[in-house]
Symmetry: C2
Subunit: 164 residues, 2 copies
């Protein structure tokens, strides 16, 4: 496996916010992030996937201490943009695998998702870039998640090196 996992990282106390059913047309994402920018909200992740008909759900993760600022930003937004609902969820946290080019290997993604599954950890959200695979998982299972991912990816390497 020439692509290697270099590190496992996780976030602290996060707040997941989902704007449900925003109109799927140009300018809507800009409106949302203008409001967040006006209140200087620090963003950890942005995830928008498939929607239904002409609507999308736009999810983002901020730090819990910014909750007040996020609520103010959304209160301003609601004056100019209509959407079907919103969700605030403080029970999630992010765990990531980091390593050059790892996101392109379906085998590394499989091993990560499988290690979490064996530990009974449900994956709430997934987002990747070329050198990182991130999952939102229940915060109270974070320690367990880091442990099983460490065993799957880092320990393996150590064991391999010892054998030679």
């Amino acid at each position: 496996e020439e692509v290697r996992v270099k590190a496992i990282t996780h976030s602290g106390d996060m707040l997941k916010i989902v704007l449900l059913g925003v109109p799927n047309q140009p300018g809507v994402a800009a409106q949302i992030f203008k409001a967040l920018s006006d209140f200087s909200v620090f963003i950890d992740m942005i995830i928008q996937s498939e929607g239904r008909e002409d609507y999308k759900d736009l999810a983002f993760v901020a730090s819990r201490e910014d909750e007040e600022k996020v609520r103010k930003a959304i209160a301003c937004l609601e004056k100019e943009l209509s959407f079907q609902g919103m969700k605030f969820d403080e029970t999630m946290s992010r765990v990531s695998l980091v390593g050059a080019g790892i996101a392109s290997s379906p085998n590394i993604a499989y091993r990560m998702f499988n290690a979490l599954a064996r530990a009974g950890i449900n994956i709430d959200m997934i987002s990747t870039s070329n050198s990182r695979i991130s999952c939102l998982i229940p915060r109270d299972l974070m320690e367990e998640a880091v442990k099983v991912l460490h065993e799957e990816f880092i320990m393996q390497e150590v064991r391999l090196n010892e054998e030679v």
Copy 2:
């Protein structure tokens, strides 16, 4: 703005695949990526966001030349996993902003989304990691997207440097 955009990148001919309404329980993402791994499908992005009730949509982007392999992997998957539907979409392409720490600044995200909106480009999917903001947009608008993002982020820098 201490965080700076270093580059604008875009992908070639991509294929977006969405598995609609997969069960939201541990092990499902692992099953999907086991099937893709068995057929050595090269993955460009994985995006899973908010779902509804006990279901999630799992979207991933592969290269168009792997379409046959993806279809075979999904045919195998369908024998063991039930989901509500699937979508294959060859009309999308990925454009990304790259720079250390850019995803945490809501202002950079706003400027990116706004530059695309001013050009009338609709954002189909969004995914971030700490140093990259990626958007799936219509492939036939890719050149326009790269041009407007270049003007917004790279030209600005050049102009600023000239002034001093």
